[in-house]
């Protein structure tokens, strides 16, 4: 059971960080800094490791550090792994980022005062998650000072064991959590849930903290490397809305169910069998890229018929594309970030992509 969580916590993105040319004052220009960034971490936390590398070449002045990928300023409060999954559809290794020490884009990015800003952003997200799960933030607000420090340090250092020890005091078990125990040994096939598998007899309802990042493409692509680059935050819809689980007898709430509930417009659910749906609408609409031997999503979307104007191209969580029929509770329990949010990147193919005219 611990396996998946361990992999997530140990996951890291190799970064190659280049100083922006406008801030290079020496010749030859400094080499880029190479650093492994924890997936569950945040970019500003890397600054103490990066700065020494460029110190001698920086122009005089006060540091206001920010990162950028292909011209897009990176939002520092989004976990590094999520930024990578979202902006680097075809994973780039190492991921080439540009760092700036001057000229903070304060009209786009919230100010960052270093580790403290990141820590409080994390804690506020944790409070929000706690509110979603329990209906109040009391457990987080009442944390002792030492516990709070311990919690933050465990995240900062990527120490899963320490994290689990402190976070268990918060009692943030999510709805449907019972499933995870049942699935420890089995394969991830949809299973019928019976009333008596749950020892406590609870109804499996509740709210789950989810942050969804959705972007659309108007032209189909078969290879990830042909996917268009996201060059503006306006192209991404950020949906910070909890998934509501209403435990239904005999039904397992899957990852697909969860995504559907947040994007209902594009999933007209019809109870068609696999054969029926593909015959009626033709094979083309159901095809999804699977050339790299990655997850084959086609059988998942066939049972849920996408509406005319959208098709799910990609659902990526912690760098993987899980089969959509996996029970959602397992996904949440194992792939969530330390602040108890599950971050999901979704790419939809739509017939027409409209970009709002103002920024």
């Amino acid at each position: 059971m611990m396996e998946a969580q361990k992999y997530v916590w140990e996951g890291a993105i190799p970064l190659q960080i280049h100083l922006h040319e406008s801030e290079v004052t020496t010749l030859p220009p400094p080499l880029p800094a190479l650093i492994l960034a924890p997936r569950i971490g945040y970019l500003p936390l890397l600054i103490p490791h990066i700065k020494p590398h460029f110190n001698s070449t920086l122009p005089p002045g006060v540091d206001t550090v920010w990162f950028e990928y292909k011209g897009l300023p990176l939002k520092w409060y989004i976990p590094t792994g999520v930024l990578f999954d979202l902006l680097c559809v075809e994973p780039e290794r190492p991921w080439n980022l540009t760092v700036h020490f001057r000229g903070y884009p304060g009209n786009i990015l919230i100010p960052c005062e270093g580790e403290d800003s990141v820590k409080w952003s994390f804690i506020n997200s944790l409070k929000e998650a706690s509110y979603i799960i329990n209906g109040n933030c009391k457990n987080v607000m009442n944390m002792s000072q030492p516990d709070q420090v311990e919690l933050w340090h465990s995240v900062f250092n990527g120490n899963l064991e320490a994290y689990l020890k402190v976070s268990s005091k918060l009692k943030l078990g999510t709805a449907g959590h019972e499933y995870s125990a049942n699935l420890n040994s089995g394969s991830f096939v949809s299973r019928q849930s019976t009333g008596d598998t749950d020892a406590t007899g609870q109804v499996k309802t509740g709210r789950v903290p989810v942050r969804l990042y959705v972007w659309g493409v108007s032209e189909d692509f078969d290879d990830l490397e042909d996917a268009p680059q996201i060059d503006s935050w306006d192209k991404i819809s950020y949906i910070n809305r909890p998934v509501e689980i209403h435990g239904e007898e005999g039904k397992c709430f899957t990852l697909l169910d969860a995504v559907k509930s947040l994007l209902p417009e594009h999933f007209q659910y019809k109870s068609l069998t696999n054969e029926e749906s593909s015959k009626e609408e033709g094979e083309d609409e159901q095809k999804v890229p699977s050339e790299e031997g990655g997850e084959n999503l086609s059988e998942d979307v066939e049972s849920c018929y996408p509406s005319d104007n959208a098709e799910v191209k990609l659902v990526r969580i912690q760098g993987i594309e899980p089969k959509l029929e996996i029970p959602f509770s397992w996904v949440v329990h194992n792939l969530m970030n330390p602040e108890h949010f599950l971050h999901i990147c979704v790419c939809l193919k739509v017939s027409q992509v409209k970009i709002p005219s103002d920024g």
């Binding site: 009209n107 409080w120 506020n124």
Partner: protein
């Protein structure tokens, strides 16, 4: 609505009802002051459009700075060339000003009320800027806030008012933390038996909420707003 078992939170649909009620009543009661308006949000084609999404907006207003020792409400004749000059022609409780900043200038507030799906309550977002549009530094905003807010800020720097991304405008705005909202809304309504009885709780929810939350930034609600329907 069963007040006794209610947790003080509202659904998105209820927020819309409450928002309409606020807009209408505000217009009726204080027609001289700038109106709250509903701003609908255009969405990407892939986001659910069957749900109306938007927020309440009150922009370009000047707020009184309340001193704890005594209330000094001065009228300040407006001679701005900007478009907001029309709105400030008549004196209204919400727009009286007392100049305090070092820059000795009037500063303007934009207030947005946005629904939070996580907390299931309204959340206040605001920004403060000078007449030329330049945003105030946080230190200067603190000077403009009522004294009790400034004190709370000192005690809870990171958890009371924070800068966050506006959910719709995607720009940095100040936000009032919604953690306790459900609880004190429940308390507010439990104290008022008549509300529970006539079932008009939702209609006055936002107005009651605003009368509470507005105090943080110094927005005063005309007394008539708080009368029962």
């Amino acid at each position: 609505m069963d007040i006794s078992s209610w947790d003080g939170t509202i659904s998105l649909a209820e927020f819309h009802v409450a928002a309409r009620a606020l807009v209408e009543k505000w217009k009726r009661v204080s027609s001289a002051s700038p109106p709250w308006s509903w701003v609908s949000c255009p969405k990407q084609p892939w986001v659910a459009s069957h749900e109306v999404e938007g927020y309440l907006s009150l922009e370009n207003i000047i707020l009184v700075s309340i001193k704890e020792e005594h209330d000094e409400l001065l009228s300040f004749p407006q001679k701005e060339e900007t478009s907001c000059s029309d709105k400030e022609e008549s004196i209204d409780i919400a727009t009286l000003v007392q100049s305090q900043s070092d820059r000795d200038e009037i500063c303007y507030y934009d207030l947005h009320i946005v629904y939070s799906a996580s907390y299931r309550v309204p959340v206040l977002y605001f920004r403060v800027y000078y007449s030329d549009g330049e945003p105030l530094e946080f230190e200067d905003i603190k000077k403009h806030l009522p004294a009790h807010s400034a004190k709370t800020l000192l005690d809870s720097k990171w958890t009371f008012i924070t800068q966050e991304e506006h959910p719709y405008l995607k720009r940095p705005w100040y936000k009032l933390h919604p953690c306790g909202t459900g609880e004190w809304m429940k308390l507010l309504f439990q104290g008022d038996v008549s509300l529970a009885r006539n079932g008009a709780a939702i209609e006055v929810y936002l107005i009651s909420w605003l009368s509470f939350v507005g105090q943080v930034v110094g927005l005063r609600i005309p007394y008539e707003m708080l009368n029962q329907l």
